[in-house]
């Protein structure tokens, strides 16, 4: 249901505190409002949005968009159910807004790498996803670059190496960790500056796994994009496939059949549970409590086998597609799932009881790795990380999609912001997902699971709540093919909170802090 232009214009005037001509405002198909601005108007709008406590949740470049033949930069702001997209119309450099919206720091660096787009007065102009092997002047998201193998730089002199922030003083020493870590996890670099045993500063460097996902999607027809969307982050396959499909369906004006949304929602919630169970087990491994950890690892393996029975994939892959889902799930499989989950619930509660009554676990979890509530807004934190620090937002509630409008998940919010709070929030979310799936499988209507989908041209913004938080996808279809697609997973923003969470802790607690935040490297590096 698209609101009338007058209503939209009224909303914009209320938010920005000034009347914007109607021809500069467009209502998007995903509930977002596009506002075209000149550079002075952009600066005014940014100040006003900051004053009104909006969060910058996305910032990305796009070429030949609208009237601008060069690179346009789109700024996505969110507050509760409001979604505004500022589109500055000039093609020259824009003022950096990183001092006002700290999330812009990585976004602007990403945009500079991708398009060679400059931001005036930026305080951090280091490359982000293009590491040392990439040649100077290389900008892969420009349309003039055709996706093909490149020749990386072979000899990298010390002068070309990435400059980390310098931390110096009496007794400060550096502990460099990664990109290859001791455990079986993804690569990233952590530069700890430590005084005695206490972490004084942490700087992270990511993007070792940059695989060029966004460029790879360009030129594909939406139906063939699913394996790439699922590869954004393996354990978020359903969430990222869904957010991509939602954007494509909004553009095409396709209504997904109700039964398909019930099934999609079951898959989304199973993915959340699988992810949380793995985190909880991992957190217990990191504090040396295998008895507790294995309670959750056993359940997680059983979840992955249940995933396999429903979809033929332990990662629930190959089901989500534009227009609905690939194939229906037989009633018998659904009722077996309900029985399985009812049993799992009892054993899960028994596992929680063991963990939460073990003092050595509580001792390691409590007061460790605190994420302050004041970071949520400036860093655009979302998901369990935000909700364990006093955040109350959940995309399923703020921007309900599919059947979440009827099946509103219980949102648990805690205030301590430590590892224990994140563990407890995840426990509550597993219980809430179990309840949701139970209701969905009982009340699921019969009917088709796939609508006719044919791509239509246009662009749209979609948001979903993955296990890690809010995932965003902005998609532009031109001549039936992807012209530009950008993903921003919750991890991209949540990673930046770890630099704060680690401070004043000791390096041996870092693994459990990291695991409690459950950050995807692949989903950040794209």
């Amino acid at each position: 249901m698209i609101p009338s232009p007058d209503t939209t214009r009224g909303r914009v005037a209320t938010i920005l505190g000034s009347d914007i001509p109607a021809d500069l405002i467009t209502q998007g198909t995903g509930g977002e409002i596009y506002i075209r601005v000149d550079t002075p108007g952009f600066s005014r709008a940014v100040s006003q949005l900051a004053a009104s406590q909006f969060t910058l949740i996305g910032l990305f470049g796009v070429e030949a968009f609208g009237n601008n033949p060069g690179t346009s930069v789109l700024y996505v702001f969110e507050k509760q159910d409001h979604l505004l997209v500022l589109v500055p119309e000039e093609s020259g450099p824009l003022p950096s807004i990183a001092r006002i919206f700290p999330t812009a720091t990585w976004f602007e660096r990403e945009c500079r790498d991708g398009f060679g787009f400059e931001f005036d007065d930026a305080f951090d102009t280091r490359r982000l996803f293009l590491h040392e092997p990439y040649p100077d002047g290389f900008h892969p998201l420009k349309k003039s670059f055709v996706n093909a193998p490149i020749t990386p730089r072979r000899n990298i002199s010390p002068a070309d190496e990435y400059p980390f922030r310098k931390v110096s003083g009496d007794g400060v020493y550096q502990v460099p960790v990664g990109p290859v870590h001791a455990g079986i996890i993804e690569p990233g670099h952590f530069r700890f500056s430590v005084i005695g045993e206490t972490i004084f500063n942490l700087e992270i460097r990511m993007f070792y796994k940059h695989r060029g996902i966004e460029k790879l999607l360009e030129g594909k027809v939406p139906d063939t994009c699913m394996p790439v969307a699922e590869a954004v982050s393996g354990d978020e396959s359903v969430a990222n496939a869904t957010v991509f499909c939602m954007a494509a369906e909004q553009i095409a004006g396709v209504t997904v059949p109700e039964r398909a949304w019930y099934l999609r929602t079951i898959l989304l919630e199973m993915e959340r549970m699988t992810s949380h169970l793995g985190d909880q087990g991992g957190m217990l491994v990191d504090v040396g409590f295998p008895l507790g950890a294995n309670q959750f690892f056993v359940l997680r393996e059983e979840m992955m086998r249940a995933n396999d029975r429903i979809t033929g994939s332990r990662f629930l892959r190959g089901m989500i597609r534009p227009g609905g889902i690939e194939r229906d799930v037989p009633e018998a499989v659904i009722s077996d799932l309900a029985v399985f989950l009812a049993r799992l619930k009892k054993r899960y509660q028994a596992g929680l009881k063991i963990v939460l009554s073990t003092t050595s676990v509580i001792d390691r979890f409590a007061t460790t790795g605190v994420v302050s509530r004041s970071l949520i807004l400036p860093l655009a934190l979302s998901g369990p990380v935000a909700r364990a620090s006093g955040g109350t937002e959940d995309t399923r509630v703020q921007h309900p999609y599919g059947v979440y409008g009827q099946y509103i998940p219980a949102v648990r919010s805690l205030h301590d912001g430590d590892v224990l709070a994140r563990f407890t929030v995840k426990a509550a979310e597993v219980m809430a997902s179990l309840d949701l799936i139970e209701r969905l499988s009982r009340e699921m209507p019969q009917g088709p699971v796939l609508a006719d989908f044919s791509a239509r041209d246009g662009y749209s913004l979609a948001l979903v709540e993955s296990a890690r938080g809010e995932n965003l996808c902005w998609l532009w279809i031109k001549d039936g093919r992807v012209e530009r697609c950008t993903f921003r997973t919750a991890s991209f923003c949540n990673w930046q909170a770890i630099e704060h969470a680690a401070q004043d802790n000791i390096p041996p607690d870092f693994p459990v802090i990291n695991k409690s935040m459950n950050l995807s490297y692949a989903g950040t590096d794209l």
């Binding site: 996706n147 093909a148 790879l216 990662f315 077996d336 029985v339 692949a522």
Partner: protein, 178 residues
């Protein structure tokens, strides 16, 4: 509809625990164990290396240590340093950003050493083959002894792959360096 609901209600419920004992895993596991005993002096040390996966393969490799598989009982350990490793288990297409670290990891391993590519991307570059950000499969930078395809391969398939490597290590010569 009524009959269906009734039969769901009356049908015997599946209430027993998921069996932890799996005949096939035990068979593969004990075969691996006897190979490890003869070829590797009773213990096989594996170092995992992610050169650009989507993290699904890491999850399955981690799952090999959960109580359903518990592969440590077959003489297999995952080690923290490449200096302790016999086998490098590599996941993901090799990104430009990881290529240097990947080579250094391999070079840090003592000889004789083996490399296994786990998952479609590690085997051939998969969906990323021919794009700007990756060199391709693992064999573009390291000599690969065995490829285990899959999106991602299941723990059982990875285990079967390890058995195949044990057999190969005993009989065949080493792969040439690329």
């Amino acid at each position: 509809m009524m009959v269906n609901a009734l039969s769901c209600f009356l049908r015997k419920k599946v209430t027993e625990d998921e069996p932890v004992h799996d005949v096939e895993i035990e068979r593969i596991g004990s075969a691996i164990k006897s190979e490890i005993n003869t070829v590797f002096g009773r213990s096989l040390a594996i170092r995992e290396l992610d050169t650009g996966s989507d993290n699904a393969a890491e999850i399955e490799i981690n799952n090999l240590s959960n109580p359903f598989y518990d592969i440590e009982r077959f003489g297999i350990t995952f080690v923290a340093s490449p200096r302790h490793a016999d086998v490098l288990l590599v996941t993901g297409a090799v990104t430009h950003n990881m290529a240097i670290a990947a080579k250094k990891t391999y070079e840090a391993m003592p000889s004789p050493k083996f490399v296994i590519a786990v998952g479609d991307e590690a085997c051939s570059g998969g969906i990323f083959a021919g794009t700007y950000a990756v060199l391709g499969g693992v064999d573009t930078i390291l000599p690969v002894d065995l490829k285990i395809p899959g999106n991602p391969p299941s723990p059982k398939e990875i285990l079967a792959g390890l058995l195949a490597l044990m057999k190969k290590a005993q009989t065949a010569g080493r792969s040439p360096a690329p």
